[in-house]
Amino acid sequence: MKKGLVTALSVMMVAALAAGCSGNSGQENAANEGKAGSGSSGKKTELTFWGDWGGEGQKQFETMVDAFNKSQDKIHVKYVLQQDMITKFLTAATNGGAPDVLFWDRWRTSLYAPKNVLHPVDEYLTRDGISKDDFYSESLTELSHDNKLYGLPLTVDARALFYNKKLLDEAGLQPPATWDELEQAAAKLTKWNGDKLEVAGFSMGDLGLFNMYLQQAGGQMLTEDGKTNFNNEQGKQVLEFWDRLMNKDKVYKVGFELGLGEGQDAFVTGKVAMLYSGPWMLSTYNKYGKDLEYGIVPPPAGPNGDKGSVMGGFGLVIPEGSKHHDEAWEFIKWWTANKDNALLWAKTSLNLPGFKPSMEDPFFQDDPQWKPFLDTLEFAKIRPAHPGYSVMETDALAPNLQLNQQNKLSIEDTLKKAQEQGDKMLEDNAVVK
């Protein structure tokens, strides 16, 4: 009797375990069949669109998706929020669960495109007569690999100089246009109370902006053949400039802004007078900065008048694993290569659209908050399209810059070490095929 009970119990447990393991795949199969069924019945084609924007961002995506669904009756798109999108895509790309449209951080293209998981769109572009001149060429380069284009830009952004109008007025200053003016203004705006920093004249919190300063000094991060290119006169100029700001003018203190976000943001509360920031911060500043009056100018030019900023942003791509490449392209084209729709997207999400004709709208041209970004985008450059670039920047360059900022490494040694370690990381991460 007892034995029977034990056997029955164990059989149940094993069965439950087995069911638990296979439950997932069962569901997925059912979902796939459902999708295929609705597609072949001659009705609307169902598209899945993955993104990792939740909250406000999700609403903005859904506004666009709804507008597209209403604009025609052949394709129906559904937005699916994937918190951990890239990891999910890694597994989905090869096992048949790939979405039809993917929200894409453009710099990832150089790593993913060689692995044949994205579908090239050049033929569609030619077929539909879409001109590449309508997009920033840098943003298209970032979406390309081996002369093939893998999607269209949805947003573009670049950092410009934000300044607190009130603080500058009080000090009788004009927004800076050169490194020298920036240094003088920052020194004048900084307020110390004993050894306590009360107002930082200029934010030096993000050393990842080295790339941007290097461009302003007339340099470039990488050489043509994929090696680091900052252990030179230009790199030295950047670090000497930083050294003056940190140690001579003392406009900043390490860790000053750490953990201050949203309502306590150091710029919103007037604790930082000037900083490099991008259009993505506009809504935060407008929301929390009731008393904050700020202006924006393009980044100040370096010693030889060179201008520089780093262009980034998102695109839309079609995974190779999608079964509806053509329909996915229709959706992407509607959203990113149509003046009205790209403008609707821009107004909904407060992003600069990737489509240039939309930016001719008064919404951008007549707004003092947007105009400086448009000017900056004219000279902004993307990060080098090397699959090891981000590792080099965060693991080789930034750590040495931090040591330098804390006066633990000389300028010469910083550049030399960053070069040695950086070149090795570029090499180790270069092969992606």
């Binding site: 375990l17 990891t87 953990g259 930034a398």
Partner: protein, 295 residues
């Protein structure tokens, strides 16, 4: 005799039935993945497009991966500070709280509470506490005339800050384990020691500490494993910075595997970490004489 063997057989069968679910789960979710990872560490697997045998290539690359060895140095340094402090503080707390005095349950709860908070939420709060100008810690220090450092942003204090946070989070649960261990020390040992004229220190030195050896072994082993696998707190507090002084092997393995899609190489790194954990656990076993009986 025959009936005896029958009972034993029956017992054995029942035992196997009872451990089957656990062993199955262990096999499916631990043994198989480990074996697969070992295989992957000899390939150039990238999840998406390739999975070719490359022999010892990944392990050769490990040798001059200076960043990997730097992360190992970081967690060793962390362990050397964290593990002894963890044992000392949780043992002291448990001895304070093992006696029945008014409000003792309240204090037990207080000391245990940090364990219940999520690592990420707690780390976020600690970022504020440790802010150089507006944080509570430096605010208190300034009352006694000390200018506190930028705890999380300076190379000399970043790791120390992580030690503080993780100690705060982990002493609670170890205190509970020690409390249970203290309950198991027989009273008659103390009584006879008192009769022999032993003072408090002597009875701790010769009774409590040796009697707690299995407990200390458990606590220290878990602490060492946890320390070598440090990730979330370091990730939230400092993102591995400044200057890579708080970057940990697990962080690097994740980055190599999921961001750079070099799953094969990441698996090789993971195996080095596993071997390191094994070695340190064995050393710890020797040091705490875990196999000898306690009386």
């Amino acid at each position: 005799m025959a009936s005896m063997r029958k009972v034993e057989r029956h017992e054995a069968r029942t035992a196997y039935v009872f451990i089957t679910p656990t062993v199955l789960l262990f096999a499916v979710f631990t043994v198989i993945p480990v074996v697969m990872a070992l295989y992957l560490s000899f390939t150039n697997y990238d999840v998406l497009s390739r999975n070719d045998w490359v022999g010892l290539e990944n392990y050769r690359r490990l040798i001059d991966d200076s960043l990997l060895w730097k992360t190992f140095k970081n967690v060793f340094l962390y362990s050397i500070i964290f593990v002894p402090l963890n044992i000392i503080i949780s043992l002291l707390l448990s001895m304070l709280l093992s006696r029945a005095w008014r409000g003792v349950k309240l204090f037990r709860t207080f000391y245990y509470l940090p364990t219940l908070t999520s690592a990420v939420a707690a780390a976020t709060v600690w970022i504020w506490l440790l802010h150089p100008e507006f944080g509570l810690v430096n605010g208190l220090l300034s009352y006694v005339g000390i200018t506190g450092p930028a705890w999380l942003s300076e190379t000399s204090t970043a790791m120390l800050s992580i030690v503080m946070l993780t100690l705060w989070q982990s002493v609670g649960s170890n205190m509970i384990i020690y409390l249970a261990g203290l309950q198991g020390v027989p009273d008659y040992l103390y009584e006879s020691a008192r009769l022999d004229g032993a003072n408090k220190w002597a009875s701790f030195r010769y009774i409590t500490w040796p009697q707690l050896r299995p407990t200390t072994f458990l606590v220290s082993t878990m602490a060492i494993i946890g320390a070598l696998q440090l990730f979330d707190q370091a990730f939230v507090l400092t993102q591995g910075g400044p200057a890579n002084v708080t970057k940990t092997p697990v962080y690097l393995i994740y980055q190599q595997g999921f961001n750079q899609l070099q799953m094969g190489y990441a698996s090789a790194q993971a195996f080095v970490l596993a071997v390191a954990i094994l070695i340190f656990s064995l050393i710890n076993m020797r040091v705490s004489k875990a196999e000898e009986s306690i009386i």
